[in-house]
Structure formats: C-alpha cells, structure tokens
C-alpha cells in the first residue's frame, strides 16, 4: 500500500513539474512577443551565447568535418565511390551533425552558466528583490536569454557547417588526394535548399530547448534541489543533462515526423 502511495505521489509530482515547465515556456514566449523587450540585455546575451561560443564551435566544427572526411573517405573508397565524399560530408554536417553538436556545445558552455547565474540570483533572493521592486523577472532574465538563443543557434550552426565542410576539404582533398572539383561539385549537386532549411529549423528548436530548460532549472533552483550552493550545483547538472537528452530526443522526432519541415 505504501509503495502504491509513493508511486502515485511521485507521478503527481512529475506531472506538476511538467506543467510548471510548460507554463514557464508559455510565459517566456508571451513576454518576448510583447514590448518592451530589453534590447541592451538581449545584445549582452547574444555576445555571451553567440560570440563567446565561436571558438568552441570553430574547434569542434573543424575536427568533426576532418574526421568525417577521413572516415568517409576510408569507407567510400571500399566501394570505389570516394567521389561522393563531398555530398556525404556536406549532408551529414548540414542535416545532423551541425545542429546537434553545436547545440550540445552551447548547452555545455552557455547553458550551464545560464542555470548557475539565475540559480545564484534565486538563492541570494535577487529575483525576489526584482519582484518586490515591481519589475518582471521574466523580462529581465528569461526573455533576453530565450531570444538570444533563438538568434544565435542557427548562426552558430551555419558557422559549424561551413567550418566542417572546409575541414573535410582539408582532409579529403589536401591530404588524401581527392580532386577539389569533385569534392565541391558533387556536394553542390546533391545538397538542396530543403536540407539546409531542415538543419536551420532543427537548430532553432534546439535554441528554444536550451534556453527553456536552462532558464527553468535556474529560475526554480530552490524548489526542487534545496537552497544553498549544493542546490545550484544540482540544478546546473540537471539542466545540462536534461537539455542534452531533450536535444537528442527532439532531434529524432523532428527527423522522423518532419512536423516543421
């Protein structure tokens, strides 16, 4: 009997938590489409999420493209079709690797610090102070981050794709001796606008997921994890894990159902 009660209790709690996350997202969207949007805060967040992620995107993009070039060349040359290295590298970067890996990198680099920052504001009662002053914490804390993530993720993904394509070029053409016309010519003839749009729509979705999960975990630090330093560290861990898992799961759903495509 006790077991049943506990199961039911945790199920109801999980339902509450899910509902709270949904309401949080709806509120964040509602406040971001209604003026006033704090433009200076938004620019600061674009700098933090976007500009400061360039170096990590650059490195991961280059090495992802290079390893794709290497592995792709080795695999394709077994079938004697190494001419298709370009389309292979281009399509897998644009449709899958680019959006997913750059979203995971942004989660690790920017998402974790978003949660920690907002979490510390919560436990040191700065958010309560904002509310007491009659200022809307969503407008000051959540909306700039949500909009910045929506702006930055597609751009970071595009940078990742281009760097990766040139990384594959470096390995396939300069090192393994494919001709450069074949690499780019075949890529141009097989990659279509639809593929590029698919990647961009995915990265937009991932931007929303990152901002949503990380802001939510930070904003609600005290409620689930306890106050204090431990609470912030737990919330940060949860945010990174949850948003990484959600990104991969949502990626599968987007690809298989093609709802937004």
């Amino acid at each position: 009997m006790d077991l049943v009660r506990k199961l039911g209790e945790s199920a109801i709690k999980a339902l509450f938590r899910l509902g709270r996350m949904g309401i949080f997202l709806a509120k964040a969207f509602a406040f971001s489409v209604t003026p006033p949007v704090k433009l200076s805060l938004l620019i600061k967040q674009i700098q933090f999420i976007g500009f400061q992620s360039i170096s990590v995107i650059f490195l991961t993009g280059a090495f992802t493209g290079m390893v794709l070039g290497y592995q792709g060349f080795n695999t394709l040359s077994r079938f004697g079709s190494d001419a298709f290295l370009g389309p292979m590298v281009g399509l897998s970067l644009i449709k899958e690797m680019g959006p997913v890996i750059s979203a995971l990198m942004v989660t690790g680099r920017a998402g974790s610090s978003i949660t920690a920052e907002i979490g510390i504001m919560r436990i040191s009662e700065q958010i309560d102070a904002l509310e007491l002053m009659g200022l809307n914490p969503y407008r000051y804390l959540i909306v700039p981050r949500l909009l910045a993530a929506i702006v930055c993720l597609p751009l970071l993904t595009a940078i990742f794709d281009v760097i990766g394509i040139f990384g594959g070029y470096l390995i396939g053409v300069k090192m393994l001796g494919l001709s450069s016309g074949v690499y780019f010519g075949e890529m141009v003839s097989y990659v279509e606008m639809g593929d590029i749009l698919e990647g961009l729509i995915k990265s937009l979705n991932f931007g929303v997921i990152i901002a949503w999960v990380c802001c939510f975990k930070g904003f609600h630090t005290g409620f689930y994890t306890g106050f204090g330093a431990e609470g912030v560290s737990k919330a940060t861990t949860q945010a990174v894990v949850l948003s990484s898992v959600l990104i991969l799961v949502w990626d599968y759903f987007l690809t298989s159902t093609r709802i937004f495509l």
Binding site: C152, P154, L155, L156, I159, V188, E192, D195
Partner: protein, 147 residues
C-alpha cells in the same frame, strides 16, 4: 569602451553567422538572390524519371540553365527550363535526359539543331528523348529480346 567592445563583438558574430548562412544557401542550396537573368522554355517528356527542380541543363557539357519546375500535363511530364540570357536554342534542337556516370544524378542535355528559327522565351522544345531505362535494357539483354 566596454560598450563599444560589446557592440563590436556582437556585430562581428552576426556578420560571421550571416556570411556562413548565405554561403550555404547560395553556393550549396542554389538560391538565386539577384534573380538570375534568363528565359523559360518548355518541353514535354514521356518520362522525366530522376529529374529534380534545380537539375542542370547542359549543352556540350556546359551548364546553360536549370530545371525550374516539373509537372504532369496530359499524362506527360511538362518540364520548364530556365536558360541563361544569350544562349540561343534552335527549334529543331533535341532535349534528352541523361545520367552522369552509372548512378549519378540526372540532367537535361540539349543537342543543338541546325535550323534557323530560335525558340522564343516561353516557347516549346519539340524534340525530346526520355532517359534510357537501364533496368529494362538489362532485362532485355538477360532474357534475350534485344535485337
């Protein structure tokens, strides 16, 4: 100075992102930004299998245009091709669907004709040849009905 730094770096990031986006969509996605100059001609094929919007149109192996749309009309495939300005195609030219390599993509090859009359914009190319059906060819060979 700090504000200037902030705005400068954000601007730099946005420019870099937009350059990469436009590189992807113009170079790889074949988006035509400046509305490439050219004119359309039509052709009916009995089979357009494998052609896609954006496939190349070639004369002597040189790309002179792209497929604009493919639709069905009277149980035939109506293919609209956008041909670059300055390329003249005679009325008795032959359009045939070919394959690059054995498993490559399909494209339209136009063999120039010898006539005097040039197809006007919006005109129709009468002589067409459907792609060679490789499977049919193989089965004919295997089952011995190839003359």
């Amino acid at each position: 100075m700090r504000k200037w730094d902030l705005e400068f770096t954000v601007g730099l990031f946005l420019i870099a992102g937009i350059i990469c986006l436009s590189y992807l969509s113009i170079k790889l996605g074949r988006m035509e930004v400046f509305g490439a100059k050219g004119y359309d001609i039509h052709a009916f094929f009995s089979n357009s299998g494998g052609l896609k919007n954006g496939s190349s149109v070639m004369i002597a192996g040189v790309e002179v245009g792209r497929i604009k749309s493919i639709s069905l009309e009277d149980y035939q495939a109506l293919v609209v091709m956008s041909i670059a300005e300055g390329i003249e195609i005679q009325e008795d030219a032959i359009a045939s669907i070919k394959t690059r390599g054995l498993i490559g993509e399909r494209f339209v090859e136009i063999s120039p004709g010898g006539g005097e009359r040039i197809i006007p914009p919006g005109g129709r190319l009468r002589e067409t040849q459907p792609p060679i059906d490789f499977e049919q060819l193989v089965s004919k060979y295997v089952f011995g009905t190839l003359e």
